[in-house]
Amino acid sequence: MKVAIITFPGSNCDYDLYKCVQLVGGSPDFVWHREVELGNVDAVMLPGGFSYGDYLRAGAIATMSPVMDSVKAFAAAGGPVVGICNGFQMLCEAGLLPGALLRNDSLLFVSQDVLLRVESDSTVFTRGYEVGQVLRMPIAHAEGNYHTDPETLDRLESEGRVLFRYVDASGKATADANPNGSARSIAGIVNENGNVMGMMPHPERAVEEILGSVDGTGIFEALLAHLSPVGTT
């Protein structure tokens, strides 16, 4: 699995992603945002961070980068694209995912572990999990408050495109367990074709015991298994 990790001025989770892709046996490669071509890759990942200092709106200016035309073409051709944190904000700004990430309702930058309930195991990103499984991973953001209109929310739900929800220890999506005010406690979604995923929590920071959780590994393993099935490499 060759993975292009797009780096922008202000990205700060690019090396975490690089290490994480290596950990599951993939081949990561950094692609600078000024590049025009992605090269011959199997997946694209947009890392967390503060591209362009979050000026104007988080992720907005990054979507004007030359490489983003190639990312859009790659996604349109069905290639898997993962956006984490600032990467999720970019995917929404670029129109590859519906909605927007607003300021946290607390107005605070929130950096803490959260619990996520897996809502769908039928995507190439989440098929390693079971529906209802509760995962632990960190969040670190000030604009993670997922917002879209009620019709789009209903559509996301009915099409099984909500992948993760913030929950409490008993697996319930309560207001207290929602760290940023996201509509319907949504933490991660996928596009209509099931090949573009965005999420605010950081699975790449939950891939080794020393990090406190290995629950994020499943996303990268599932993607690797999808792109490099056993026996084909």
Partner: protein, 91 residues
């Protein structure tokens, strides 16, 4: 070509939760200002542009808002066009 200054106001959509506005509203109430129904926080961008007419300048600003300056999911925008010498306009 004439030089115009575009004053572009980008504001959160009506009905959209604006936590920053809410925090300011509460702060004003704590200063005993009564009767404040709502506070909403947006931003103003000043763009100095050259265009052949005010209409053209406005149209260009409109396109810029749609493509970058405002998020159509969460924000509305208004554009005022000033044909003044830049020295007269507050920076």
């Amino acid at each position: 070509m004439t030089r115009f200054r575009l004053e572009i106001r980008v504001v959160p959509r009506p009905g959209l939760l604006d936590p920053e506005g809410k925090a300011i509203q509460h702060a004003l109430q704590s200063l005993d200002y009564e009767g404040i129904q709502d506070v909403r926080v947006g931003k103003i961008l000043y763009l100095d542009v050259e265009a052949s007419s005010a209409d053209e300048a406005r149209q260009r600003g409109h396109a810029m808002c749609q493509r970058l300056l405002a998020n159509p999911v969460t924000e509305d925008f208004q554009i005022e066009v000033h044909e003044e010498s830049p020295a007269e306009i507050p920076a």
